[in-house]
Symmetry: C2
Subunit: 638 residues, 2 copies
């Protein structure tokens, strides 16, 4: 085939599981041309991953996909119950329960959402269809090459084939993404090794079905240890329940990784473990036995053109329901970086932060999975320790200080909820080692930590007096989110005006990346009236009726009129604060501060809001450290 006849894509995505679909959905929304294949004839019909962690639900909401997920009426797990043999008796008894996402985590949705992976996949597939992307099935990847020296724009050539070998296609692309799962062809072809963190491996049996039982916690997540073995119970939509049963462990004296068990074996096993409770299956939807080892790939990419993500990069036990959630975040992390590079905003080196950030999270996941597995294998803690962790009132740091188990539990909950993800310092994630140094950066008292999520807060939108979730106000559209906490409007008038003047300067990060069509943008455009790369929010520590946009918000910022807020709602987490959102962020309630949140919701940079040019200088320097154009040369140097 002559090269000129080859179809060209921005990206070829292999695998339509959670990681591939998230990547495809985001890039399709942002206008990229996508070839997306999967070797299965249809979406996951039954079984596989089913747990959406609290933070992932935030992300899905931010993408507008939460209603479609919730329309399936998924099960919601708020608590975990532990069952053990009674002292010196037969059978099992409940020895404790604790919150799945305890109140010390400031989560919008403090529960895990359980829904069949196929239904979740279909939500993404429907969204893709709106952007005219269809998954090509059942197709597989046969080969690929990547060589920028031959074709700097479309360096990747990919050979695709129908699984029955009846058709082939060769395409060129800017990027290739392998979201093919643990046995990734792309990873193997790149010669990237998988390291096993923990030498222990397991064989698991998993069964989804509808049961009849008198076991009282069948609608809770349970870990059951009996003298006859252990089971994990996870409720599902449509009265279903999933049981995980550990069939073999490499620590067993007679371990065989190919050990298996029939459906009837597992049911008999479960019946024994659950005694004195009875259990009968009305229907089995899915049953599978599979060996699982902890593994992490040495690299997520070699050339920053061919990338891996999801199970292709990291495998671990299903116990904590992290697989799909980690996959979502891999994809989201890569998507916005590809977007900023391809749109000419960021240096290509930004793509290096994908492996840097996500591999570190995977390492943490595997360490955690190790610890979690041990935690589950151990006897549960005494009831009084569980009770302390389970208090519904906010818990202070101190009250946990003296119990090591609860500390471990707390760390685990933060991690499993998704709120514990922390990206390491880099050019996009400020730290004291960052090139930008200024007295205004990371002002004292603020609780926002670069690399962690923006803190949740309720505020009142000024234009329509709607009560809104501030962290959700800007959709996942690829823009940086710049939250200007403006304190009391009469005290910050000068600082806000100076900031706006600074943004207006031709060399500011903002003016430099102004939209080319800025003069013809619709006045209904809420998020990107001036630039595709930034959305501004201004939050005053005033009551809503006291805020007058035309008077209090300087011209350029006033263009974001739908993003002006009053911080005038009470919060139980800061009950004495006058301006609860300012207080939650740890900003001075009179003078505020500025937060730059990356397109994925993680904090990049925090500065004070001060009179003069220091605030805008700091912002210019931050963006200047990774964007393609020279920034801030006509303003004072830091």
């Amino acid at each position: 085939m002559a090269p000129q006849n080859i179809s060209h894509y921005d990206i070829v995505i292999v695998g339509a599981g959670p990681v591939g679909l998230m990547l495809s959905t985001l890039l399709a929304r942002w206008g990229y041309k996508i070839k997306h294949i999967d070797n299965r004839p249809e979406p996951t019909p039954t079984g596989r991953a089913d747990g959406i962690q609290p933070r992932s639900l935030d992300l899905l909401r931010n993408m507008g996909l939460k209603p479609a997920i919730m329309a399936h009426e998924p099960a919601r797990v708020y608590e975990v119950a532990f069952w053990d043999p009674p002292k010196g008796g037969d059978g099992i008894e409940r020895t404790g329960t604790w919150a799945s996402c305890p109140s010390f985590i400031d989560a919008r949705y403090p529960f895990t959402t359980l829904l069949h992976q196929g239904l979740i996949e279909r939500v993404f597939i429907s969204d893709l269809a709106k952007n005219n992307v269809e998954i090509q099935r059942p197709w597989t990847i046969k080969d690929f090459t990547s060589d920028e020296s031959q074709n700097p724009e479309y360096p990747v050539e990919v050979k695709l084939e129908h699984v029955d070998g009846s058709a082939q296609e060769t395409v060129r692309a800017k990027y290739l993404f392998g979201g093919e799962g643990a046995r990734s062809f792309i990873r193997q072809k790149l010669g990237i090794q998988v390291r096993h963190k923990d030498p222990i491996s397991y064989v698991w049996g998993v069964m989804d079905g509808v049961v009849k039982t008198d076991f009282p916690d069948i609608k809770m997540k349970c870990t059951i240890h009996s003298r006859d073995g252990s089971i994990m119970v996870i409720p599902r939509e449509d009265n279903m329940v999933r049981l995980y049963i550990q069939i073999a462990s490499s620590t067993d004296p007679d371990f065989n990784p190919r050990k298996t068990a029939s459906e009837a074996d597992v049911q008999a096993y479960a019946k024994k473990i659950l005694q004195p409770y009875s259990i009968e299956w009305e229907r089995v939807e899915w049953y599978s036995v599979y060996p699982i080892g902890q593994g992490i790939s040495d690299n997520y990419t070699l050339d920053h053109r061919v990338f891996l993500g999801g199970d292709a990069c990291h495998t671990h036990s299903p116990k904590a329901g992290q697989g799909m959630n980690t996959a979502f975040l891999d994809a989201q992390n890569l998507a916005w970086k590809i977007n900023l590079v391809e749109r000419g905003f960021a240096h290509r080196s930004l793509l290096q932060t994908y492996e840097f950030e996500r591999k570190d999270v995977a390492e943490t996941l595997l360490s955690f999975d190790n610890k979690y597995a041990k935690l589950f294998s151990q006897k549960p803690p005494p009831a009084n320790a569980v009770a302390a962790a389970n208090e519904s009132a906010p818990v202070t740091e101190e009250s946990h200080g003296d119990n090591q188990f609860i500390q471990v539990f707390k760390e685990s909950c933060e991690f499993t909820s998704g709120y514990g993800v922390k990206y390491q310092p880099s050019v996009i994630t400020w730290s004291p080692q960052h090139p930008v140094q200024s007295p205004v950066v990371q002002p004292e008292g603020n609780k926002l930590r670069p690399g962690r999520l923006m803190i949740n807060a309720d505020v009142t939108r000024v234009v329509d007096a709607n009560v809104v979730h501030l962290e959700q106000e800007i959709p996942m559209n690829g823009s940086f989110r710049i939250f200007v906490f403006a304190g009391k409007s009469d005290l910050t008038k000068g600082a806000l005006s100076d900031l706006e003047q600074g943004l207006r300067k031709r060399s500011s990060f903002y003016a430099t990346y102004e939209r080319q069509d800025v003069k013809t943008v619709s006045h209904h455009e809420k998020h990107n009236p001036h630039s595709h790369f930034f959305t501004f929010c201004v939050i005053f520590a005033n009551k809503r009726p006291q805020v007058e946009i035309s008077r209090d918000v300087p011209g350029l910022l006033a263009q974001y009129r739908d993003h002006v807020y009053a911080d005038d709602l009470w919060s139980r987490r800061v009950p004495d604060a006058r301006a609860s959102a300012h207080a939650k962020m740890g900003f001075d309630q009179d003078h505020g501060g500025v937060v730059v949140v990356r397109p994925d919701g993680y904090i990049g940079f925090v500065t004070s809001l001060v009179e003069g040019t220091a605030t805008v200088d700091a912002l210019n320097a931050y963006f200047g450290s990774f964007c393609t154009k020279k920034i801030g040369h006509d303003s004072a140097q830091l």
Copy 2:
């Protein structure tokens, strides 16, 4: 046509606006055979009603229709702004704002939802399709007769015709419902007169469109009085805004009810009123001029076979956005009563309470509409009064005592939110004049008022630890909802056991109306395991982990295992309560009480929960006062 060839229906519904669709949707879900016609070729294409009040959103959620409504991203009105001429100046200025549904109303959704009527109609039409009901369009009613003596089961004969006269159909039905709007053919044919409460009538112009304006409150509900006239502004989905303009009033010296105005006239008028702000129309979606008078029909039915509802019974100004909401409640009220009569549970006389209850609400609506119109015509209150009403913290009764305006405002907000509806005493709505008299009825201190809505409360569901809205836990399925607030489980053990024993007696209201298929009901049935007419909820004033259903809930009540709750969540409205739901209801936190909520969410009856037979005797007597079978003859008489 020979009678045996005539199709028979449970009900013929004429008109597929909000009232007809609500009635049809409920009855279709409950298995009734429905003929539903509408004389329009398609659902409302543009304009007409668009305001869903806070309580109506509760109702739609209870029916599972809220997600489909919210998927259209309706506008949400939290506040109302008042604009007036400045003292001695030209133009207009904002003189105050206040909450649309202030915090003294304990609403789940303290906002009005604005969405085009056609989209709302389509949500119902989709639901009807699931039950195989299709609106027959464009068809109209030509004639009907109703005669129980001729045909006691299907007394109504209805002649229907295609609007172009090309086809006719005669059908028989148990009921006929006229939801045809203000010019109801059915009402006219019955000879029911419409009384005009207020001799004043108006001509209104209404325009829906997308505008470009610098008027700052264009996304708020506004009442603008200028020296050039008045306008009401109502935001809508898709950046639309609705303007209501009063074109003529019968109090004008030259009043002409046929006065009209062109689209351009109204735009010019609006431009003048909004000065110094500018407004331009990018698109007009709908424009209409129509005369409106306050009217109420003398009767809603003559024979309790042919019923009227919605605008066929009451017309009023569009100012408070009540039309669709009142229509919903008319239909809902009639639906559950028809259902209980047709299923053989209630005496046919229950149907008399439809007109009794709903006409009284319509009278209240018209009185309110009158007052509201005057309120809008008057100068708005001084800014300090508005500020007091607008406090976001809960407001005590006392703090309003000294300001007559705020009192009126408070009453209005309660009514317009839908939370103010109060049904007058009758056989289903207990009062001191009710035949059931017992010391346990309406126990001292309780805040539940028969005829008003069940109070909202958050509780924890025991089986899965989910945080739920108690008042939403039982769907609108036609069953009475019996909430047993069981106080502290160790203190009420005897009372709960005695209640259960009483329910088990063959002559109890409960056993008398047991399902015939009770022995084969699926164990997954959550709401009606024993009876189609009742669902029980048991709420303990204990922490969730302290509740053990197998130990604490007696056998028959334990069948409702998905309806056992722990009252262990903190509420800002009763911050010091140990059991906030008990406290909100005004029940003793140790000993609880029992509430019977009608299928529509309104309270029917309240008793103490005591040891012995008094509680079940009172319940037997309450249901016995309107059900078809003899109840409680083998238990002690009251």
